[in-house]
Structure formats: C-alpha cells, structure tokens
C-alpha cells in the first residue's frame, strides 16, 4: 500500500469534508466572520464549484483545505483525516495529494517555464534528469506549450501562465486539484479554452476538482456539485436550476442579485 493510499483511503467516499467550520479575520475589536459553521462534502472524482461574491470566503475555503489557514473551530477532513490537528510532517504528506492552480498562477518568476514545471519532480521525486526532461516535455506537448520552455513567466500571456500553472499542478499526479479563480483576467475565448482544458485533463487523470470562481453562471457547466456562499451562509446543489429553491435566505438573495434568478419556494 502506497503512502497516498494510506492518506486517501478507497472506502472514504468524500475527498474533502468540512464539519461546522468557522473562520474569522481581523483583530479582536474589528473581527470579521467569513465562514459561520459551514459544513459540506466534496465527492471523489467529481468537479465541485465553489461560487459566491468577492470577499465571501471562497479562497479562504481553499486555504483551509490546504492547511495554510487554521479554522477558529470545526474540522477539515481530507480523505477522512482531520488536518486541523495535524503536525507539520503529516500535513506535508496530505499536501502531496493536492495540485493547486493559483489565481495569478504563482509561477516562480526567476525560473523558466521548464524549471517551473520540473520543480515538484526535482524536489519531491528521485527521478533522473532525463526522466524529468521526458515527463516535462510530454506535459508541455499535452498543454500546447512546446517551444516556450525557456521563457520566463513575465514573457507569457495570462492564458499561458494558467496553462503552465496547471502543468505544474499535475506533475505529481494529484488526487485532488484545486483551482483558485482560474479564469480571472482572461478574455471569453481564453476562458472557454481553459474550461475545455480542465474537462480534458480531468477525464484523462480522474482527479477530484474543486474550482473556486465568480464566473457565474458559465462555471456551472463544469460542475457536478455547486457550493454557493453568501454572507457566511452556504448551500450545496447538484444543478444550477436548484439554486432559486435554496432554504437559505442569503443564498436566494445572491441568486436574485447576481444570477438574475427569481427566488422560489418561499
């Protein structure tokens, strides 16, 4: 049994589970509650979209999943294990399950495209230089980046940076890939291209995808599950058409204001 199997047991149906998680920011007198006892599950092998307005805590959820932030209360379970109480080394093992595409791609600006993509292989595997070169070349080819290996991130367009970020995120064959606002700053053509790329790579690699986005309603076309956030409240849907029937008043208000959907079922 590999380490990944131990951390990510087959029997556990949820890749990620939040149990009554609260998180607030700011100093005592000006504390701002972003997440108020939210609970949800992310099913394995599916695409979950987390949507909501700006400042509603979407990116906070991603940072909690990765253990970059600790919740004020509640549990964050990855593969059934609570990562909140985990020590540094155990958390490092769990992080090996993830690939992350950051909002600004977070490429290392002093490294070339090739070096950026090769970095996780150099640091986390015992591959030889030849094996690394071969694997990176294959990824560059799949993501149509061949010929750009020697460029630095500052020389790339927004869409290309996202593709390089995705290539880097997929190098260690992650079980879960987190996308933070993957289409921010891209034109509609590039956005469509990036969505197609997500679908293709997910079908090929079978990872669990969590996409945080405010590209509503286009992003819902990718979703097997939708999580909507508004003013600390959260609701989970399997289809976008269910959103107006939410039991949460803040979610219905969000649907009315942002998506132009009339609230129903009141």
């Amino acid at each position: 049994m590999s380490k990944a199997d131990t951390v990510f047991p087959e029997a556990e149906p949820a890749a990620i589970r939040f149990a009554a998680v609260s998180k607030s920011f700011g100093e005592r007198a000006r504390r701002h509650l972003v997440l108020n006892k939210v609970s949800f599950s992310v099913p394995k092998g599916k695409t979950t979209v987390i949507a909501g307005g700006s400042g509603q805590g979407k990116s906070v959820i991603l940072k909690l999943i990765l253990g970059l932030l600790k919740p004020d209360s509640g549990q964050v379970l990855v593969g059934g294990q609570d990562i909140v109480a985990m020590g540094y080394r155990a958390l490092q093992e769990v992080r090996m399950l993830f690939g992350v595409l950051f909002q600004g791609a977070a490429l290392f600006d002093s490294l070339t495209v090739f070096e950026n993509i090769a970095l996780p292989l150099r640091e986390r595997t015992k591959f030889s230089n030849e094996e690394i070169r071969r694997q990176v070349a294959a990824t560059l080819d799949q993501l149509e980046l061949t010929g750009h290996e020697e460029k630095f991130p500052a020389q790339l367009s927004g869409g290309m940076k996202k593709r390089v970020g995705l290539a880097r995120a997929l190098q260690l064959a992650p079980k879960i890939v987190l996308f933070d606002e993957p289409t921010t700053g891209l034109d509609p053509v590039m956005t469509k291209e990036i969505y197609e790329l997500f679908s293709q790579t997910q079908q090929r690699l079978g990872y669990t995808a969590v996409i945080v986005s405010h590209d509503i309603p286009q992003i819902f076309t990718l979703a097997d599950q939708i999580i909507l956030l508004n003013k600390g409240e959260l609701d989970v849907f399997t289809e976008a058409s269910q959103i107006p029937y939410s039991t949460q008043p803040n979610i219905r208000e969000f649907a009315r204001q942002v998506m132009g959907l009339e609230a129903r079922g009141e």
């Binding site: 100093e27 007198a29 940072k63 990765l66 970059l68 490092q92 093992e93 992080r95 090996m96 993830f98 992350v100 950051f102 909002q103 600004g104 977070a106 490429l107 290392f108 600006d109 970095l119 996780p120 640091e123 986390r124 880097r168 260690l172």
Partner: protein, 272 residues
C-alpha cells in the same frame, strides 16, 4: 474600537493600547524565533540546494566586494590620518599600526561589513521573499509539500555565514592597507614601526572576537531581512501589495542595522 472601548476612561484606553502593542511585539518575536529555528533546521534537511548556495555566496559575497573595498579603504585611510594626527601630539606615531589594526579587526571590520551587506544584499533578500509571499509563490511551495525554509531561506543563511566573515577579512586587510597608505605614505610615519606595532598588539583573541562578531552579524542580518519579507502580510501597519514590501524592506534594513549595533556592544562586553 468597539462601543465599550470608546466609552472607557482615557487611562484605560491607553493601558489597552500599550497592552495590545506589547502582545503584538511578543507575538512577532515568537514568530521570528520559530522562523529562525526552521531556517536552521532547513540546513540539515535533504536535498540541500548547493547550486543556490553558490549563487547566494556570489550575490552576498562577491557582489559586495566593491562596496566593501571602498568602505574599508576610506575607513582605513581616515583611521590612518586621524590616528597619526592624535598620536603625533604625544610622539607615539609608532602605535599607529597597532591602533589601526585593532580598531579594524575588533570593531569597524565586522560592524561596517555587516551594515554594508544589510544595505546591499539584506534589502534585496527581504524584497525578494516579500514579493514571493504576496504573489503566492511561497504558498505554492507549501502546496507542493516543499519546505520553504529549506528551499528559500537556509541557502541564504549559510551563504551569509560563509560570505560575511570572508568580507570582514577583506575589509580588515584593505582597511589596514588604507591606514598604511595614509599614515605611512602620506603623513610619513615609520613603515617598520607600523607593521611591528601591529604584529605585537594583535593577538589571536582579537582575531577571534572579530570572527565571532562577523558570524553573529551575518546570522542576524539574514534572519531579520528574510524574516520580515516572509511575514510581510503579518506586520502591523505595513499596508498591502507593493507598498507593504517597500515598507517592510526599509524596516528590515533599519532593524538589522540596529540589531548589529546592539549585538556589537553585547559581544564586546562579553568577549573582550
């Protein structure tokens, strides 16, 4: 400030502010302590980045040679001129070599080298780490399960521990040469007396004090400069984005310079 605090007497509000600031300083010190611990631990973690170490030795060490050369030459020459002027009054020009060498080896060499490196390389290291923090590059490292201390900080720390003592040695040699030029060649002090005095007065203990100081100052400046950059988003009043990096970089250079001067006094008092 909440309503309850707004209506509290002024003295209580003041006590609250002092307490709040004290808690912030303690938290910050704790954070920096943990940062140093993990940076030192990173030196022992596999795989160590040898190429990055060489690059950093080049940046911190070789890249600082010019500024160190001119600072040491000027300091040595001023010491030679002023030393000759003062000693000549008592007919003690023969002590010039000893005065120049001891001042440079025990005091000016380590301190001025550290201040120059803090200004040149420390500010650059702080800005680099700060930009990596605000552009999520450090988060990206953590998400790839790559230890950012081992990857980013430890090579810089070791490079400074190698470079700063070597730069201090360069400073001492060039400074003594500058003192010789000014005192002997310009002012006419006796060349033999200059070197003989130096040879007689400088002991291993003096050299050791200079070396210990240069190691401590190298550690201090990299610790403070990289630490401020690493915690750029947690520093009170630093603002956001590019402004926060510029604020924190200035703060890092000021803090590391003050730390060097304070530790200089402490080390001199303890080791002399």
């Amino acid at each position: 400030m909440n309503q309850e605090q707004q209506h509290a007497p002024a003295v209580l509000r003041l006590a609250g502010k002092i307490g709040d600031q004290a808690l912030y300083i303690l938290t910050d010190l704790g954070r920096m302590g943990i940062f140093l611990y993990f940076s030192l631990l990173g030196l022992c973690r596999h795989p160590f980045r040898c190429k990055e170490l060489i690059k950093q030795v080049g940046f911190i060490g070789a890249g600082s040679i010019t500024v160190i050369f001119f600072t040491s030459l000027s300091s040595g020459m001023v010491l030679g001129l002023q030393g000759y002027y003062s000693l000549h009054k008592f007919g003690a020009e023969g002590m010039l070599g000893s005065a120049v060498a001891l001042t440079l080896i025990m005091e000016l060499g380590p301190v001025l080298t550290a201040l120059m490196v803090a200004g040149r390389a420390g500010s650059a290291m702080c800005a680099e780490i700060g930009i990596m923090r605000i552009s999520e590059q450090i988060d990206a490292l953590e998400c790839m399960a790559i230890d950012p201390f081992r990857y980013l900080i430890s090579p810089k720390l070791l490079a400074a521990l190698i470079s700063v003592p070597l730069l201090t040695a360069v400073f001492d040699v060039v400074g003594i040469w500058g003192g010789y030029l000014a005192g002997v060649k310009l002012m006419g002090a006796n060349s033999g007396a200059f070197f003989a005095g130096m040879q007689q007065s400088v002991t291993n203990h003096d050299l050791r004090l200079g070396v210990v100081k240069s190691f401590v100052f190298g550690l201090l400046l990299v610790w403070i400069c990289t630490g401020r950059g690493y915690f750029v988003q947690k520093i009170r009043g630093a603002g956001f984005g590019a402004e926060s990096v510029s604020m924190v970089t200035t703060q890092a250079v000021v803090m590391s310079s003050i730390a060097v001067l304070v530790f200089d006094v402490l080390l001199t008092a303890v080791l002399l």
